[in-house]
């Protein structure tokens, strides 16, 4: 298939270098020229990016694609279409599948199914065989064969001794140990956050200690042994504090937060709607603010979606019987940005610290949003786009001539109401159904191909 040729005109580009106004020419999928005042060549499509924000396409460290074994909810194809619509060019697929990718044989077999998709898929391997928590996988060997992330997600590794072994292997191999932080002995079958709302609804509850105990344990193990620890879907202010402290001590600890924990708090569960059932549970508004302070300070490294598709029959149930999890990879930027706006409303004047220079923010700001909102938007792009690349040690940031183009074009002027029809994912268990969310992914160019054009995934063109 012929590669597309584009000229992105008047883009406001944000990457590891910082913020700047630039035209970007793409030829044969590669950035061929960057500069100001470029003229379109013959046969080149000009994309007007005036007022739009361009960044390296997003990368998700935490996606449940359900294949193999859970194709009723999502497949590699349907999930990567949803991810593309959300602005992603690559996701790390969680290993709670059937079979579990815990050996080279299984991983090679599953990898065979991930070629020729809209976006790139990295398979995470499990930390323990079959995710059963009993025996550790061959971390060093699998790392040599290209596995970067190891996790038992869906569950945390309960045994400190096993985690000790895993950290030893991580220290030797550079493998990232991604932990679903939940001590099951204190979680005790709960369904929502422990507190007044959960007790009033008569639901079994999950203490925030289930998270913080495991965070504290793994931070200690990481400090003592070395290796790389990545804490998944942190949901409590206390966990953010533990991460900040660990970073201050120089430990190789990173963490992610989800868009839904940045936007929604436990009061949403008051409706009794199972769409708001997720693990870790939606927490208190103080926890939400704690996560935002962690985002602002740099304690939080990435936004991971924990996109968790479920068929309707697993969600059309009373709260306690319903499955944990929500889809959301399509709305991660929008939901997070709405969360930022609400946080700004509660904490006027509180601004994020960006890791790159922001001298031109005032001048380059899209007209529809304020300077403060723009700073938060850039911070979110940092966590969706730049943070994951740093963590996975991937190139393509900053955007430069000669690189394969993975570029997302964000439209700050749009608002959308989320509906079943607007969701590309095979499953519709979105907490945002009926909500109006700001911003949209206008275009997404992945590996040089424009697979999202004017907010529409070009499924017919490439994959049907």
């Amino acid at each position: 298939m012929a590669e597309d040729r584009f000229l992105l005109k008047d883009a406001t580009l944000f990457d590891a270098i910082g913020l700047r106004r630039v035209d970007i020419r793409l030829e044969k999928g590669v950035v061929s020229e960057m500069g100001v005042g470029l003229l379109p060549g013959v046969g080149e499509e000009m994309i007007n990016c005036d007022g739009l924000l361009v960044a390296p396409s997003f990368i998700d460290l935490h996606t449940h694609l359900r294949e193999p074994g859970g194709e009723e909810a999502e497949t590699f194809l349907s999930g990567s279409i949803a991810a593309a619509a959300g602005g992603y060019c690559r996701v790390v697929a969680m290993p709670n599948t059937e079979p579990v990718p815990d050996s080279l044989g299984v991983i090679d077999e599953i990898r065979g199914r991930t070629l020729r998709l809209p976006i790139a898929i990295d398979l995470a391997a499990s930390i323990t065989k079959g995710r059963k928590g009993g025996e550790i996988v061959e971390i060093t060997e699998l790392t040599r064969r290209g596995v970067k992330v190891f996790t038992d997600d869906g569950n945390g590794v309960q045994s400190a001794m096993l985690m000790r072994r895993a950290f030893e292997a991580s220290a030797a191999s550079g493998a990232i140990l991604a932990q679903h932080c939940e001590d099951e002995s204190i979680m005790s079958g709960g369904a929502m956050n422990e507190g007044e709302i959960g007790e009033r609804l008569g639901l079994k509850m999950i203490s925030s200690l289930a998270e913080t105990i495991m965070v504290a344990r793994d931070v200690e193990l990481c400090k003592a042994i070395g290796g790389r620890l990545h804490l998944q879907h942190i949901s409590t202010s206390r966990a953010v504090a533990l991460v900040s402290e660990a970073k201050g001590d120089g430990a190789f600890v990173t963490c992610e937060v989800t868009p839904h924990h940045l936007l929604l708090d436990e009061s949403y569960v008051g409706s009794g709607k199972s769409l708001f059932k997720v693990n870790p549970p939606l927490r208190t508004i103080d926890d939400v603010d704690g996560l935002w302070r962690g985002v602002a300070s740099g304690a939080v490294d990435v936004i991971g979606t924990d996109h968790a598709p479920h068929p309707r029959w697993k969600k059309d149930l009373p709260f306690e019987s319903a499955a944990f999890g929500m889809v959301g990879i399509e709305e991660s930027l929008s939901a997070s940005f709405l969360g930022a706006r609400r946080f700004m409303g509660r904490n006027p004047g509180y601004l994020p610290k960006l890791s790159v220079g922001t001298i031109d923010v005032e001048e380059l700001r899209p007209p529809q949003i304020s300077v403060e909102e723009f700073l938060w938007l850039l911070k979110l792009v940092e966590l969706l786009s730049l943070g994951p690349r740093r963590l996975l040690r991937l190139p393509n940031d900053p955007i430069a001539e000669g690189m394969k183009a993975d570029l997302v074009v964000i439209d700050p002027s749009v608002k959308r109401v989320i509906s079943n029809e607007s969701i590309w994912s095979k499953s519709k268990n979105s907490p945002y159904l009926g909500m109006e969310l700001p911003l949209a992914i206008r275009h997404n160019i992945v590996n040089g191909r424009m697979i999202v054009r004017d907010r529409c995934v070009e499924v017919e063109r490439y994959w049907r």
Partner: protein
Amino acid sequence: MTSDGRRLGLHTSTKLDFEDLVALVNRGLELSRGGSAKSFAGRNVILAFFENSTRTKVSFEVASTHLGMTAINFDITGSSLSKGESVKDTAETLASYDPSLFVVRSKESGLSQLFEDWTGIPTINAGDGEHEHPTQAILDITTLVERFGSLEALGGLRMAIVGDVLHSRVARSLTQLANLCGIEVSFLGPDNMMPKYIFPNVNRHSSFEVERYDVLYLLRIQRERLAHGETLEVNKYRSRFSLTKERAAHLRSEQVIMHPGPVFPGMEIDAPLIDATNSLIRRQTEISIFARMAIVEAVLEGSIGG
């Protein structure tokens, strides 16, 4: 209430205000004294019980029959709910029989509300998980008003709710309504049976001095409801919180004993006390019919809801 402003069923006592309660109690008492019932002849009520409760079901059955309705029993107990696929389908199938009302009881919190959300048909919560049991609380208040003469007379009464308050849907609903009436509620029971977050202003008493209360409301001790890791020593419980013959020896004549049933004689209360002159336990069962008639009338006429 629905998003379009219609009032539908009754799911939680938190949505009732004092005026709702006055109307329900007065109407229930009027019916109990032989007042004529409204007729909803030709209309159906489906009693969808996902958890066994003969007494509550019979009470609703009789109440709706007195109102001229046809009560259709639909029992699905045990495992069918946990399998799950069919709960919404079940609700939709039952709705296709065009009932005017659902009465739903379930082991899980929130099912009556879901029934109503799924079908748009008014639904009365006959007990959902550890959440609420509002019709029980209404009949309890009705029974108290009959005994003490008026709703106003309940103001200032001291009520002990004794037992596993944390896991009791009855206690939650009753406390809510008792607060509306100005009754001063105290919770009594072991620490691990006390709510940690809700009703922060309700007294917690760790010893059962019966003379301190006007109303002794005993809860059934549901050992199976206790979460993993919590143990209950029967003898220890009995010595601290049961209404034993010894404890009841000096009851004043105006003090009353209540229990939502079914009673577990010899556990939370000694058997002979069930029929003592102080006891309203039998009367609660009798009144339940009239209180539920009043509730069904009100829901069908759209005059309460929440």
